[in-house]
């Protein structure tokens, strides 16, 4: 649904996006992570045919971003970094303006905005001037604007920034709902927990280049190693750890607990359980220690920085 190949954007004297390639399948969520100035917004702007790539190509919803810009923009809903609302307009009036731009049929011009506003809890704010909206309300209205014409592709820049936890959850649920409805969503975010929760695939972009890409599990394995399991017992280990050392790589241990790394938990974990229960030890829990996307992201950026410094040296 979204394809980018060697996409590059040069501005006067500097390269904002440097030969990035990725593909996002229909009905999936793709997260683009990266520090400020990494090239995320420029990438989104190229995907919405606002900026013309200096090199490479991209297709969105089957349309070429250079040759068919109008069709591309008709097929995407965009939540921009800044909401950019017209403060003197009223909520309903604002959405009516966009329904006309998207040429929605007359019967949908009122119904569609009403449905979406109700869904996002803005039903009472339809006749309020946008200048009176709170930050979170503005963000939600901008999201409504992006979804107004029910586009097959949504490009969302920081979809839940400035939102209270309840609203943020509502938006995340809506994004998941969009995935279920076979919409393709690309989000750029600094909220790593959100990306981890939502994204099917993640790309980390830095200095205009994609430095890592894959599913959360793939990235986790590649950058922070094999999964770590935590085992808790009812009593002291009593030397059991030593017996396990040949089977797994123990990374930490306490009086009644231990952590080990394993490349194949499906195979190793039953063996560990058998060994311990055979030794008369009672297991309380055996679970995977969760790696956060933050750990992975920091590791990715640190590795890239190191490689960059090495290159320069």
């Amino acid at each position: 649904m979204i394809e980018a190949h060697e996409l590059t954007k040069d501005f006067k004297g500097f390269r904002a996006v440097d030969h990035i390639s990725f593909a996002v399948k229909q009905g999936t969520i793709f997260a683009i992570l990266g520090p400020n100035g990494a090239g995320k917004t420029t990438t989104v702007r190229m995907l919405t045919s606002i900026l013309k790539p200096s090199a490479g190509w991209a297709r969105v919803a089957g349309y070429d971003v250079v040759k068919q810009p109008t069709a591309v923009r008709r097929s995407v809903g965009v939540l921009t970094e800044q909401h950019g609302l017209y403060e003197r307009m009223r909520g309903m009036e604002y959405l009516d303006f966009f329904t006309r731009i998207y040429r929605l049929p007359p019967e949908l011009r009122t119904r569609r905005p009403l449905e979406l506003m109700e869904r996002f809890g803005l039903g009472d704010a339809l006749e309020k001037r946008l200048g009176e909206y709170s930050k979170g309300m503005k963000q939600k209205l901008a999201l409504v604007r992006a979804m107004l014409h029910d586009p097959p592709v949504l490009l969302l820049d920081e979809p839940t920034s400035a939102m209270d936890p309840q609203s943020a959850k509502l938006v995340r649920d809506t994004i998941k709902e969009l995935r279920r409805a076979e919409r393709t969503v690309a989000i750029t975010t600094h909220n790593l927990t959100e990306a981890q929760e939502l994204a099917d695939r993640i790309a980390v972009i830095r200095q205009g280049r994609i430095i890592a890409m894959g599913t959360f599990e793939e990235l986790s394995r590649r950058f922070v190693g094999e999964p770590i399991m935590e085992l808790r017992l009812t009593q002291h280990l009593n030397g059991a750890a030593e017996e396990l050392r040949g089977m797994v790589q123990i990374v930490a241990q306490g009086e009644d607990w231990l952590r080990y790394r394993t490349s194949a938990p499906q195979r190793t974990n039953p063996q560990v359980i058998r060994k311990l229960t055979g030794a008369g030890l009672e297991i309380v829990t055996l679970s995977e220690v969760s790696q956060t996307l933050e750990d992975i992201y920091l590791q990715i950026v640190a590795e890239d920085e190191g490689a960059h410094m090495e290159e320069h040296a």
Partner: protein, 500 residues
């Protein structure tokens, strides 16, 4: 109907593939923008209060002033001057509200950029033309309506009031058209200014480039207006404004694009980048080490060839100027036949003039610098006039040439000595001037239609690089040669022709 059904309906509208909209659709979409913008302007008291004051209060003040002036003129027996002076005020009454269009245009373009509300709009399927047209109309409609209302109130008070003024309908048409074209020039100019800035403050500073010439134009129009027999000149001014609007629309439509609007992040000059572009164009693809022959072959000649269209335009204008000069010779005859071919005094003067160059070779430098000065001024003025002044300055001597040659021919004299006084160096000088003017024309006009893949600034810098390249590589050597010929060869040829 459920959301799913609704979304299904909507999808059929979101997957349209037609890239080219019909004109009707373009206008419809543009009007969606216009309606929103106008409504927004009507809600902004900073715009509405001045419009209201200028529309209703100012015409009434102007009426009171007119009454005072009328009384003063009548008391002093100068009532005959009134028909000349009365039309001045409606022009002023119309101009003030229209000047607000500049403020609205700057606000709707740069203000929106500054408030970041432009990007959501740029992400919609609206085309650049629809956005440009919609916003331009929005900037023009409220002030123009205010202006027409103001003029109607004022003229109405003169027609129905004590003055019982009965203006010719054509005068009213002229005033209304002048007002409309002024609004168009200001708004289309404001779009160009807006695209080059990211803040309303910077745009307001640059707006003086529009408001100062427009104020000067108003003064010119006023001086014409007070002389009823010269009011036909106002039509020429209108034609001039229409041409300016066409050039500004051309330029605005090209630079009012998503790339320019969002790509421009800073108002600062990037000198390093500018120099890099200019130098790159000046050198051309000559490789690491500069080689003069390669520079001429790979850089200069391709550039000269690329100037084909402007060269053709310059040649046509020169021929037209020559023809106009020739035609004017009929109107203003110089009685050359009264001069005697054997007039010793005249021949002596000619001999000493011809000897001057041979005794003073430094006149070569004079001839050269004279040409260079003219071409430098033409190029400089071309930058600020979309290239028009390059044509005017270069064409003027050809008009004179046509005029003088026609005088010679009409007087029954042989044109040969005159021709020989021009041709020996002219064959070298004229191509140099034509080429220089062509490069200046492109330098001035490239901003109105930069190549598709370039920003305005890059296109202009490259045109500047081309102008300097052609200037150094072709024009300067030709002018040096022409100056040498003019001072050393031409006089001898003339001497020979006249048998001196």
């Amino acid at each position: 109907m459920t959301t799913t059904q609704a979304t299904h309906d909507a999808r059929s509208f979101s997957s349209a593939t037609a890239e080219r909209a019909s004109w009707r659709q373009t206008l419809q979409n543009a009007l969606v923008i216009t309606r929103r913008e106008v409504r927004d302007s009507l809600r902004d008291w900073r715009i509405m209060v001045p419009i209201f004051l200028l529309t209703l209060i100012f015409p009434l003040l102007a009426t009171a002033m007119t009454r005072i002036f009328t009384g003063f003129f009548e008391d002093n027996g100068a009532e005959d001057l009134l028909p000349a002076l009365l039309p001045l005020m409606p022009m002023v009454v119309g101009f003030f509200p229209v000047s607000i269009s500049l403020v609205i245009a700057l606000e709707t373009f740069v203000g929106e950029k500054e408030r970041r509300s432009l990007e959501p709009l740029l992400s919609t399927p609206l085309t650049n033309t629809e956005l440009y047209m919609g916003k331009t109309l929005a900037a023009m409609i409220p002030p123009l309506l205010a202006s027409y209302t103001g003029i109607a109130i004022y003229v109405g008070s003169l027609v129905l009031g004590k003055q019982q003024w009965r203006p010719e309908p054509v005068l009213i048409v002229q005033i209304l058209l002048l007002t409309t074209f002024q609004a168009l020039v200001m708004v289309t100019g404001a779009v160009v200014v807006s695209s080059q800035t990211t803040s309303t403050r910077a745009a307001n500073l640059l707006a003086s480039f529009i408001i100062i010439p427009m104020s000067m134009l108003m003064i010119l129009e006023s001086t014409i207006m007070v002389k009823p027999y010269k009011r036909y000149l106002l039509w020429y001014i209108m034609v001039g404004m229409v041409v300016t609007v066409i050039l500004l629309v051309r330029m605005g439509a090209r630079i009012f694009n998503r790339e320019e609007l969002l790509g421009r992040a800073l108002d600062q000059l990037n000198l390093r980048w500018s120099w890099h572009i200019f130098w790159d164009e000046l050198r051309g693809p000559v490789g690491e080490r500069f080689h003069l022959g390669r520079w001429y072959r790979l850089s200069v000649w391709p550039t000269v060839r690329s100037l084909r269209t402007p060269t053709l335009v310059v040649l046509l204008v020169l021929m037209a100027a020559f023809a106009v000069g020739w035609l004017y010779a009929d109107q203003w005859r110089v009685p050359l036949e009264q001069f005697q071919a054997d007039d010793e005094q005249m021949l002596d003067n000619l001999r000493s003039w011809l000897a001057l160059g041979q005794k003073n070779p430094h006149l070569i430098l004079f001839a050269l610098t004279q040409n260079l000065r003219v071409l430098a001024v033409a190029t400089l003025l071309a930058i600020f006039t979309f290239g028009v002044m390059a044509l005017v300055i270069v064409a003027a001597p050809f008009g004179i040439l046509g005029f003088v040659l026609a005088q010679v021919v009409h007087s029954g004299l042989s044109p040969m000595p005159f021709m020989l006084g021009v041709l020996p160096h002219g064959v070298v000088e004229v191509p140099a001037i034509v080429l220089a003017a062509a490069a200046a024309l492109r330098l001035g006009s490239v901003v109105t239609r930069p190549p598709q893949d370039m920003t305005v600034s890059e296109a202009w810098l490259r045109a500047l690089g081309d102008a300097v390249k052609v200037g150094l590589g072709v024009v300067l050597p030709l002018l040096v040669l022409a100056a040498v010929l003019e001072v050393t060869v031409t006089p001898r040829v003339v001497q020979w022709a006249l048998g001196l």
